[in-house]
């Protein structure tokens, strides 16, 4: 009886009991989760590219090792999220096809280029910082596999932000050229990071329903405000500026006021006109195609082993039969 199922589902949401893969759920709930989780997964995988760009040019061995570890983590995060999405009835193949065809989106922040080593610091501090701000409330999302993936991701994410800030801190204590490079990276990554939280909820079509379904726990604007408040304090330790002339502490409401966001740029990049959109997808398609022989070889090897094992057990039972009849 569909009525009972709907009531059970509503009760679970009310009581903060997780919805699990085998539970009944509204078709629209399933669809929106598939969209959100798969796009989250794509973002992790595509996010490996701008940082991977600097692995061969990290200034020290320690920086190289920590950057590699961070990028490895992002691959793992993509996996946790693809796995969570698959519990809802979509296959990995379908999701990859959607990414490559442009049907599925990923976080538009990754369509910006990493031009200097300082960009790696800015990404760790600002982009991972914004991601953490977004991901902590998702640990309480109503869908069990998604929430649990987020708990694991959040644990791993904390070193990412510290790694980034440490890079910027070091640069900010360096020579003039290094300080300039640090400020320049902050100048280029600040506004795109602020835009990561998405449009104001009144302009965001999915927000209201996601909040009702307890997938989304805090509004875009709330998260964005928290982010600005936190960064405005952290930047002081760098002796750097946030590139916003309107950034100012508001004593009355206990938050930082900040300047207007250029939403035209956001939608432009989202629609494919960012500096690196084509490059990112091309890199993903190439990786998938270049890796095909590995997948085929693994498959062929597994099938060959299975054949040998089944041949052996056939021979064993044949021999047993012969022994019995003699």
């Amino acid at each position: 009886m569909p009525l009972d199922f709907q009531q059970n589902f509503d009760a679970k949401l009310e009581l903060e009991i997780r919805v699990e893969p085998k539970d009944w759920m509204p078709e629209a709930y399933r669809k929106t989760l598939i969209r959100q989780i798969s796009q989250h997964a794509h973002s992790e995988i595509v996010g490996m590219l701008p940082e991977g760009n600097w692995i061969t040019r990290a200034p020290t061995l320690k920086r190289k090792a920590t950057l590699i570890a961070k990028v490895q983590d992002e691959a793992g995060h993509g996996l946790y999220l693809y796995s969570a999405a698959e519990t809802l009835g979509i296959t990995r193949d379908e999701m990859i096809t959607q990414l490559h065809s442009g049907k599925a989106k990923y976080s538009s922040i990754f369509n910006y280029p990493t031009l200097t080593w300082a960009d790696i610091g800015a990404i760790g501090w600002l982009v991972d910082g914004a991601a953490i701000m977004n991901q902590v409330p998702l640990c309480r999302a109503s869908y069990g596999p998604y929430a649990r993936a987020m708990v694991r991701i959040c644990k791993e994410e904390s070193f990412h932000q510290r790694q980034g800030f440490e890079i910027l801190l070091k640069l900010s204590q360096g020579n003039d050229a290094q300080k300039e490079m640090c400020q320049d990276a902050i100048n280029r990554w600040w506004w795109p990071s602020v835009m990561m939280f998405g449009p104001s909820d009144t302009d965001s079509p999915n927000s209201a329903q996601s909040m009702k379904w307890k997938i989304k726990r805090l509004s875009n604007d709330e998260l964005r405000q928290k982010f600005v408040d936190v960064c405005a304090e952290q930047v002081k330790l760098l002796n750097m500026q946030i590139p916003d002339a309107h950034l100012e502490w508001n004593e009355e409401n206990g938050h930082y006021d900040f300047g207007p966001i250029n939403w035209n740029e956001f939608y432009d990049v989202l629609n494919g006109n960012g500096p690196c959109n084509k490059e990112r997808i091309a890199a993903r398609i190439k990786a998938h195609e270049d890796g095909a022989w590995v997948r085929e070889a693994a498959q062929a090897y597994a099938e060959k082993k299975a054949r040998i094992i089944s041949n052996n057990s056939e021979q064993e039972s044949l021999m047993e039969k012969q022994l019995q009849t003699t």
Binding site: L79, Y80, S83, T91
Partner: protein, 96 residues
């Protein structure tokens, strides 16, 4: 050509220290058991989380039905006497 062949899904269980039990940590696709273990090592033990990895194909895991959990677990509901705190004994009693 096995291009679009879906590899089986494996559930991964990790034991973190000698003597503890394996805990379920997640799942992954792999062509066979050895690949599943190696991938599990790469994905789920980056921070020295484990001394032992088990992998089992997801199709071999059978789960109780969530809709039946009330009736399935009902027998234990009224048996609080299985807990030590149910028994009221004087404080002077030691080693028990």
């Amino acid at each position: 050509m096995m291009e679009k062949q879906d590899w089986p899904l494996w559930e991964v269980f990790i034991r973190s220290r000698q003597g503890l039990d394996h805990k379920h940590v997640g799942s992954l696709h792999a062509a066979d058991a050895q690949m599943a273990i190696e991938n599990a090592r790469d994905v789920y033990t980056r921070r020295m989380e484990g001394v032992s990895i088990w992998v089992a194909e997801s199709k071999n895991i059978h789960a109780s039905s969530p809709d039946e959990s009330e009736s399935l677990f009902e027998p234990a509901n009224d048996k609080v006497y299985r807990h030590p705190t149910f028994y009221d004994l004087p404080d002077q009693l030691k080693h028990m």
